[in-house]
Subunit: 305 residues, 2 copies
């Protein structure tokens, strides 16, 4: 095996990508409580909400209230997802520490998702970048459907590399490869990461893996082997796949942390505390979540239950 | 990435390890129907039952009837799990094509599981080996708790290597590393596989992965990278973990096949047909099974549903 990173950074995206894709609306106080519990579990990065049209995504309509009232732990970066300049303004007004903005690798997906061409989206990103720059905070460029599109199917590697280059050119502090529909496989992840690294050697890369088809942790492992040390995950595996109702969404944070810590890779996250958050998350969304470790326990011999 | 095998062999263990660990008793005709459907999906190896004490494992009490009545497809190996010489005799009488026998890497687990020391179990394996040899059929040696034990916790690599050597010395055609409680991680899998390969270069190795903690496919990928080309899996992820009620058990076959085929690795299995079997399996066990691909579909754009 190649040398693996000794430590990785996890961005907990449950309060945003997780809750945004749950059918239910989670009330503001519970969102704030969720972030408080995640703070205690030791995350250094939490994606706390999305500043989007409340009509498009009603689950996130209280993002400003959440940002205003949530407890902020020192040293933690609270990220806001923003689809456009209006969202970026609102996120900055809410004192987000970092912005995340999304463009799809698939022209069809971008068009159907936000009714813009990829080129139009990139112009919007330019505006977001300018605002972030003025505010003196970093922003990350997310590439959705980087490993497959619900409309176009396979996505050409060159297409993703080209988008990475554009985003980096606009000033993205990091580029995140999003497996929006969980169609990626480990060989593909390794190849795409290498292609991006070859084209843009100094770009901090992040993997945003979904576990829709069970390959989430295998994809994390593949990226790790290529030196990727930054991963998104959602506590309990909250969220889902809008293109496959009932299917799993984001990879479950506690499963990722379990695997990494067992491999001797430090995450900074308190796994037993996180497992408790995952179990509590099932209560607030009112359904069994797909994460595995919360059901199995960390290790049977050591588990109290 | 290292060179990966171009094709792998999957042993479908749902009719045995899957059904054995379901709470319900699946009636004989349905077991036979399950095997018929698996035949059609193209498996070359099916673990069709276990010849054990009906008191110990009532779910398998009809193994002889299943073997007598199940349709046998040409070229398919129908494996029987046997815990001892009595089981081996019954399996041979039922015309099993191959035997599988299990010893635990953990002394405590072996004792609590079958009330024998590992040494006593190995003497029993010797008897099984003699019967298989007389009958002119191969047998595989399974090492359970190879990646962790519910009682002892971590298992020393040397302990597993020693057992592999003993089993191979007794004539095992293959050695299977069993992650009985799903506690393995990809680094550990790679290291253990390499240790066994170093000690026993020509031993056909198999990985029996469980997905109890979400690492199942990552572990398959890790083993693949070390050249392992034989894997156990259970359709739909049938089964469970006797040490963690409600937790996932064997890795779901359709998820493994999905990942491998997407990576360009041939399995010989018809994935769409297998997904249908997985959905049907949920009906016969009366619960939602943990496999992911059956819920998500193979690829949204191409999926008919």
């Amino acid at each position: 095996m190649t040398t693996l990173p000794e430590r990785v950074t996890i961005t907990e995206v449950g309060p945003r990508d997780g809750l945004q894709n749950e059918d239910c609306y989670v009330e503001t106080p519970q969102k704030i409580e969720l972030i408080a519990r995640l703070n205690k579990a030791g995350f250094s990065r939490i994606e706390a909400g999305s500043f989007v049209s409340p009509k498009a995504i009603p689950q996130m309509r209280d993002a400003a209230d959440v940002f205003a009232a949530m407890p902020r732990r020192e040293g933690v970066t609270y990220v806001a997802l923003v689809p456009n300049v209006v969202g970026a303004r609102n996120a900055l007004a809410a004192h987000a520490d970092e912005l995340a903005t999304v463009v799809s690798a698939s022209e069809t997906h971008n068009k159907r998702n936000i009714n813009r061409s990829v080129e139009e989206s990139l112009r919007e990103v330019e505006g977001v970048a300018a605002l972030a720059s003025d505010a003196g905070i970093p922003w990350a460029g997310y590439i959705s459907t980087a490993f497959g599109c619900p409309y176009e199917g396979d996505i050409a590697e060159e297409q993703v590399v080209k988008l990475c280059t554009r985003l980096r050119g606009l000033g993205a502090a990091a580029v995140a490869l999003g497996d929006t529909i969980g169609a990626g496989n480990p060989r593909q992840v390794a190849n795409l990461v290498r292609a991006v690294q070859d084209a843009l050697p100094d770009t901090p890369l992040r993997l945003h893996a979904h576990d829709t088809r069970g390959t989430g942790l295998a994809n994390v492992f593949a990226a790790l082997q290529e030196g990727v040390d930054s991963f998104d995950a959602s506590v309990g595996g909250m969220g889902g796949c809008p293109y496959a109702p009932g299917a799993a969404g984001n990879v479950a944070t506690e499963d990722v942390v379990y695997m990494l810590e067992e491999m001797g890779i430090a995450t900074g996250v308190d796994l037993p505390a996180l497992v408790e958050v995952a179990r509590w998350a099932e209560e607030i969304v009112g359904r069994q979540l797909p994460g595995r470790v919360k059901d199995a326990g960390i290790m049977p011999a050591a588990d109290a239950e």
